[in-house]
């Protein structure tokens, strides 16, 4: 029998349609069908200036908007050859890790809710609310912050921001203990996730899986540690790797990543350098508003950047970062004008979704729900 786990379904985490060919309760074949959230972002980017693409990038993987921002601005800065000041780099790491915590909280809440542990959802969103308030404090927006801009950051962090982050970082490890108390040793959780949706390391690499989906099968690669960007080489953190390759292994990887991320946040707060938040490149980076209102050159630069954009030397760059879901890459091709010739987003989830047949065929329908949750898909990234 062919069953349609339709695009509108509480457990598919977005508009994912999965065609299940089942024999009783066992899944014989599984085929994901995507494209319901396709909005042509890659095509739209070709019609915008480089700085106008930044808000578009937020909306691709909407659970980790600043990671998208980071990947794109790093790619364009590589094309331009811009040097970013240290404070901007450390702030980017800080905000990126808070975004990772945010994303993993959504994953944990929704994954646990799909499997049946409804309380965890509310606990996770309680912490997520704190982080979203911090994002609103720093950028004015809760989710689609567009806080990272080409050449640095959009705004200075306001007074009281670092104290608030420090206070959150002090409380957060106890909250992760709370989530683990509810789930990790729970016999029902273990029965639903241990041994379920297994995947070997060879299959994971061959299918292009990355991030916790790959690390849960024993492959130790994390782009933050192995191919560092934006100052990550200055931070000490562990990369959790599990060996079994089942849902429980991927769950443990991500929960441990929550703890590691808050460690990085604490290190970033301790070592935050002083200095400017924007690179010294007047033709590319918008001047401060005070300068724009008082100096003629700044006003002219502001006008030209906004109305004409800035020309980027011809070339191409592939910049990859470690998003909460895996290797997110931006391939930006420039032809020397102010609009990108091609922007391609390598979505971590698109490759991770290809592992679904390997994980689910031969298992039960209920295990499909657990597997989809353990891959942590975001349809915005898959469909763009």
């Amino acid at each position: 029998m062919i069953l349609n786990m339709g695009p509108q379904h509480p457990s598919t985490h977005g508009v994912l349609r999965v065609l299940l060919e089942i024999d009783g309760e066992t899944v014989v074949r599984i085929m994901p069908d995507i494209g319901f959230l396709h909005t042509g972002i890659e095509k739209t980017c070709e019609a915008k200036f480089y700085q106008q693409v930044v808000p578009l990038t937020d909306r691709i993987d909407y659970l980790c908007p600043m990671t998208n921002n980071l990947c794109y601005v790093l790619a364009v800065e590589k094309l331009l050859g811009l040097e970013i000041p240290p404070k901007a780099r450390w702030m980017r790491v800080l905000m990126n890790e808070l975004t990772r915590i945010n994303s993993h909280l959504v994953w944990l809440g929704t994954h646990a809710m799909d499997i049946g542990a409804l309380t965890v959802f509310l606990y996770c969103f309680r912490e997520r609310e704190e982080v979203l308030k911090m994002f609103e404090m720093i950028s004015g927006q809760r989710m689609m912050t567009s806080y990272f801009r080409i050449g640095g950051l959009a705004l200075e962090p306001p007074l009281g921001f670092f104290e608030r982050v420090r206070e959150f970082a002090g409380r957060f490890p106890d909250k992760v203990d709370e989530y683990e108390n509810l789930l990790t040793g729970n016999p029902i959780w273990m029965m639903r996730t241990k041994g379920v949706a297994r995947m070997t390391a060879e299959d994971a690499i061959a299918l292009g899986a990355s991030g916790p989906t790959l690390r849960g099968s024993g492959v130790d690669i994390d782009l933050r540690r192995d191919m560092p960007y934006s100052g990550y080489e200055n931070f000490k953190f562990d990369v959790p790797v599990a060996q079994e390759g089942d849902v429980f292994a991927r769950y443990m990887c991500r929960v441990k990543e929550l703890r590691e991320s808050i460690k990085i946040v604490a290190q970033a707060l301790d070592g935050m350098p002083e200095g400017p938040i924007k690179a010294d490149a007047p033709g590319v980076v918008l001047p401060d508003r005070e300068k724009m209102k008082t100096q003629m050159e700044a006003l002219i630069y502001h006008f030209k950047i906004i109305t004409e954009g800035f020309a980027v030397p011809a070339g191409e760059v592939y910049q990859a970062v470690e998003s909460p879901r895996g290797e997110m890459g931006y391939y930006v091709v420039s032809d020397g004008t102010a609009k990108p010739y091609r922007v391609h987003m390598r979505a971590a989830c698109l490759a991770n979704l290809q592992t679904l047949p390997k994980m689910c065929e031969g298992g039960l329908i209920a295990d499909v729900v657990a597997a989809i949750g353990s891959i942590d898909i975001v349809l915005g990234e898959i469909d763009r």
Binding site: G35, E42, V333
Partner: protein, 165 residues
Amino acid sequence: MALAPAITDLEQLKGHPAVARLLAWNPSAVTGVKFDRDEMTIHVDRANIREACAVLRDDAECVFNFLSDITCVDWYPAEPRFEVIYHLLSIPKKERVRLKVRLDSASPAVESLCSVWPGANYFEREVFDLFGIRFTGHPYLRRLLMPEDWEGHPLRKDYPVEGYR
């Protein structure tokens, strides 16, 4: 803004492990190289791309065992029009390389990499859907993002960004 100029001379770059391996396997397959902004790009002849990827994947020194991405750029109206781009990553060596294949607009077709990496499946379907490049040997070459009955290939440069009404 300090940008080193791009190096496109094969003589200077033939020491790079990926270039050296491909030249040792089949020198006519490599039609050009570029080292720009710390990234290595190798232009491969379209008939040899699948074997070139298999060679790079299986080589003990390069070990490019992970396919990061397959994408395409449309250089309309220049000919050859399409450029299919493959990004490879070596997980043990932490190195990246980019392979490029140029295809003309008359019959844009190239061999599928699904036999080398099963993970090429969705990437190639997406390139077929949005650009119209046929991947021969692909197990299920159908549209991925656009609806099945869509006509046209939206990411081509002669397709308007507003779409057709």
